[in-house]
């Protein structure tokens, strides 16, 4: 089964429109996923799904309809439903027609082996670690996924876009009878084998410290955050960074939001946040769901807030350039590249946090978040990993945390909410924990 490039038939279907404008966008995916728990396969799925969205414009009235039925009749019926919805809608002065001048864009991030792995090949990746765990009296839970995704988009303004990407991932959580656990993961990549998934899973065996866990008094600590932990914090900058909300005073980037430092910086000197669909490790689609072309954008440079994602309507109101919505994120820290040992040496007394869990907003205007550690919180003393610790809850803001960077390691591919990110592990100061959870 291959991704279908339906630009030709969808372009033909555009002729069926009875209103001024129409866009047809098809998202298709094949997701094959092997799930392991207690050292055996508990779930194994092969999903093929697709959604065609028709959006119709009647001047400044707009409506949308979707379907999984790609027969000629199914597409026609969906266009009619979208046009019915558009006719019913009141005029919306913020509505813009489909983007003009996009033309033909094709892209791919394709690895044949990742796209077409067999079920037995996925099992073969995780089986050695599951069997080793069983022999050691431990339990492994995890996943290996493979498949592809494709997007086709045509509009009455001439956009003719197609992108296909292979997509795979791996994760594994090893649990010791003593209660200790550790997780490795990289759950969204276009080239699974670049990650060496077998080796990654095998590395779990060395990660759990012996003995039992101890409680750690909550407070403010210097901590080493794994790249995965960093990703699950900085992804909130992508989720909450948006020009209109900021201009309207509803965002942590607003004047009434998170306070800037005395030097006018938002984050530490030397810190940059960016999106780049063409980055070799990220490789996401070169256009968004509207067909807006995407390119590298730097949101924070050397700690200064430079710009924010801006939609087309708000761009017309504020004389900015619209940016489109990019589903990837990078964090660069001047001087990054320290080894794991060098990073640990920066922590005289503190903690290593490999993973966060259940992060949610508490105070949106300052990006105040809460969440917990899980799977391998460790004490750090004198630059060395120490005892396992019971989980801690934090209440802190990524904007404050990214203003206290002490050192940064080598960037890695991580993902959170399906967002591919290229971020380094970080040593940061004053990480604020507020209570303990008795587990690990």
């Amino acid at each position: 089964m291959e991704p279908t490039d339906l630009r030709s038939s969808l372009s033909e279907a555009l002729k069926d429109r009875s209103l001024e404008h129409l866009s047809l966008s098809l998202d298709e995916e094949r997701l094959d996923l092997t799930r392991v728990a207690n050292n055996g396969v508990t779930q194994h799925t092969s999903r093929h799904d697709r959604t065609l969205v028709a959006t119709a414009w009647d001047g400044q009235k707009v409506g949308a309809a979707s379907t999984t039925d790609l027969s000629t009749g199914g597409i026609k019926a969906t266009i009619l439903r979208a046009e019915d919805a558009a006719r019913l809608a009141p005029e919306n002065p913020e509505t813009l027609p489909p983007m003009d001048g996009v033309g033909v864009v094709e892209g791919e991030a394709w690895d044949e082996a990742t796209a077409h792995m067999t079920a037995q090949e996925r099992v073969a990746i995780i089986a050695p670690s599951a069997q080793a765990a069983g022999k050691a009296g431990r339990t492994l839970a995890g996943t290996v996924s493979s498949g592809w995704e494709a997007t086709t988009l045509v509009t009455s303004q001439g956009a003719n876009l197609f992108h296909r990407g292979s997509r795979g991932g791996v994760s594994g959580t090893l649990t010791d009878p003593s209660g200790g656990s550790y997780r490795v993961s990289s759950e969204s990549t276009w080239n699974l084998f670049q990650l060496n998934p077998k080796k990654l899973l095998h590395s779990l065996e060395q990660q759990i410290a012996p003995g039992s866990s101890t409680p750690q008094e909550p407070g403010e600590h210097r901590v080493l955050l794994s790249a995965g932990a960093v990703g699950s914090l900085v992804v909130w900058c992508l989720a909450m960074g948006e020009a209109r909300g900021t201009d309207e005073g509803r965002s942590p980037f607003s004047e009434n939001g998170f306070p800037l430092r005395e030097d006018g910086r938002l984050l530490s000197k030397g810190v940059s946040l960016w999106t780049d669909p063409s980055h070799s490790a990220l490789r996401t689609a070169p256009f968004d769901e509207e067909g807006h072309p995407l390119q590298k954008r730097v949101w924070v440079e050397d700690g200064y807030l430079k710009s924010l994602p801006c939609d087309r309507y708000w761009a017309t109101q504020t004389e900015r350039q619209s940016t489109g919505s990019s589903w990837n994120l990078g964090l660069t820290v001047q001087g990054e590249g320290s080894s794991d040992e060098e990073l640990l040496n920066k922590v005289e007394e503190g903690m290593f946090i490999p993973r966060f869990w259940y992060i949610r907003t508490v105070e949106p205007m300052t990006m105040g978040l809460t969440g917990l550690t899980r799977d391998g919180l460790r004490q750090v003393k004198g630059g060395a990993l120490g005892a396992r610790l019971q989980n801690l809850r934090f209440n802190d803001s990524p904007l404050r945390i990214l203003g206290t960077i002490v050192a940064a390691g080598k960037p890695q591919l991580v993902s959170h909410w399906g967002v591919r990110m290229w971020v380094p592990p970080l040593v940061v100061d004053g990480f604020r924990t507020t209570s303990t959870a008795p587990g690990e």
Partner: protein
């Protein structure tokens, strides 16, 4: 029978199951699904979107050599359906190669029948124009309040037509209708502080009569006013305080600290890599004091209009009601047909297998989990509970929420907060969070109001599983009081 369930589709699907047995499956089932939803969203004086969504497809699950395989497709042509069955079998064979034990799949008598959500007014017959006018009237009522600068409102109407066949003779037709309105207002305070206030109407399986009864326009001005009042209110207190919690707020507390904690798959490690485990063990059944005597919690997929209510689960097991907590004592986990044996159940489990669409395989999902009201005329009222508090906070609605992977330590906010002093509700607070350990919190429950105060609030978008699936559950509750809870850690 709905038009989509044509005889030809039935025949094709039954024939696929025959093929599955011929090709070596010990068991197989097929779910055909046809879903439709309409969402109308407005912001301030504008209609932001009108969406009319449809989805149709088939999911095939087989058990081969003791291992599960599942494959799905939106393409209903016979050739593709046959290829999908072969994919499911290939996947199952690979699963069987790494299974210390075969899947447990207890027998069940053939289930044949139909279930439909009781609906008085089909939401899809209500003109979209009428929904637009109602929503715009609502946001305009919000914006009429000085200081309210943004309002959003939405109606979601969904219909799920499900067909289920199995190699063991199941032939089940189910139609579920979902409704959920939503309203949120933003208020700006005198010092520029921005806060929100919502009107959280219970999402239910029900007809459009539910949206009419909710009267969004009639609540718009109040919601707008309270958003501004909240933005002007002082920060909440810190320390150990009593909490009086409303049913809309408790729904989420129940969901996170009881619903998920009592899922058997989590307790047995099946979700250790992602959703997490549980502090509970099967040895805690009938021994662990989960809460105080006031705490009686049911698992229940039969609850009228509950979001998780239907006739059979996606394993073909008839739905049921069961005790999770009785007078504070933990009585057992939610279970599925393939996990029931893990807590010593002899039958086919508690019918908690659910897939969010034809495209995904069934997994254990929280059923409707609800807190029983205190029975009889002696039950306390909300006012009685407030009167019992010397210093505390009254919390309405859902806000920030977070809990650890083993469901020990949670921190919740809310949608609106009022000071309680000397048994009376005083002024509003802008922000309050509270934090507790699950069993300490439920053991601190010192009163649950009666039936008149019971409301079926719930959760619309519970994420679980890999690939992620969305679940919906109703978690009814009455107003309740909790003593000496830690407040204000997040300040």
């Amino acid at each position: 029978m709905p038009e989509v369930f044509s005889l030809s589709i039935d025949e094709v699907l039954r024939s696929l199951l025959d093929d599955a047995l011929v090709k070596g499956a010990q068991y197989g089932d097929i779910r055909y699904g046809k879903y439709r939803s309409q969402t109308v969203s407005v912001r301030d004086h504008l209609v932001e979107s009108i969406e009319d969504d449809a989805s149709e497809g088939v999911g095939i699950r087989v058990l081969v050599d003791g291992g599960w395989g599942f494959a799905s497709t939106p393409d209903l042509s016979p050739d593709v359906l046959n290829a999908t069955l072969l994919r499911a079998i290939e996947v199952a064979k690979a699963s069987a190669s790494l299974r210390p034990e075969p899947v447990s799949w207890p027998d069940l008598p053939p289930q044949v029948g139909r279930f439909e959500t009781p609906v008085k007014e089909d939401p899809f017959t209500v003109p979209i124009q009428e929904r637009i006018e109602m929503l715009l009237a609502t946001t305009e009522a919000c914006l009429s309040q000085e200081g309210c600068f943004r309002a959003t409102a939405e109606t979601f109407c969904g219909e799920e037509n499900r067909r289920f066949f199995s190699t063991q003779g199941c032939d089940i037709t189910q139609k579920v209708v979902r409704l959920s309105p939503d309203l949120m207002a933003w208020g700006k305070g005198r010092d520029g502080k921005v806060r929100t206030r919502g009107y959280q109407v219970p999402p239910l399986t029900i007809g459009y009569e539910h949206i009419r009864q909710a009267d969004l326009p009639g609540n718009g001005a109040r919601v707008g006013r309270e958003a501004v009042e909240r933005a002007n209110a002082p920060q909440g207190p810190s320390g150990k305080l009593d909490l009086v919690l409303d049913p809309a707020h408790l729904a989420l507390t129940i969901h996170e600290s009881i619903g998920h904690a009592t899922e058997l798959d989590r307790a047995c490690g099946w979700e250790a890599d992602f959703a997490g485990t549980s502090f509970l063990k099967t040895s805690d059944i009938d021994t662990l004091q989960y809460g105080s005597k006031w705490v009686n919690v049911q698992g229940d997929r039969t609850l009228p209009h509950g979001q998780s209510t239907l006739g059979w689960d996606d394993d073909g097991v008839p739905v049921t009601e069961f005790k999770i907590i009785e007078e504070g004592v933990f009585r057992g986990f939610s279970s599925t047909r393939d996990s029931a044996y893990l807590q010593g159940e002899e039958g086919a489990g508690r019918a908690c297998g659910h897939a969010d669409s034809w495209a995904n395989t069934p997994i254990l999902r929280i059923p409707n989990v609800w807190l029983k009201p205190t029975p009889g005329p002696q039950a306390p009222t909300k006012d009685d509970l407030v009167a019992s508090v010397k210093r505390g906070v009254l919390i309405q609605g859902r806000g920030s929420f977070s809990i650890d992977q083993q469901r020990f330590n949670f921190q919740f906010g809310g949608d609106a907060f009022w000071e309680i002093r000397d048994g009376k509700v005083r002024g509003m607070y802008s922000d309050v969070t509270y934090r507790s350990i699950t069993t300490q919190f439920w053991n601190a429950c010192d009163g649950v109001a009666g039936e008149d105060d019971w409301l079926p609030h719930g959760v619309r978008n519970c994420g679980k599983g890999q690939p992620s699936q969305q679940g919906q559950q109703t978690h009814g509750a009455s107003w309740s009081v909790f003593r000496g809870i830690q407040v204000g850690d997040a300040n």
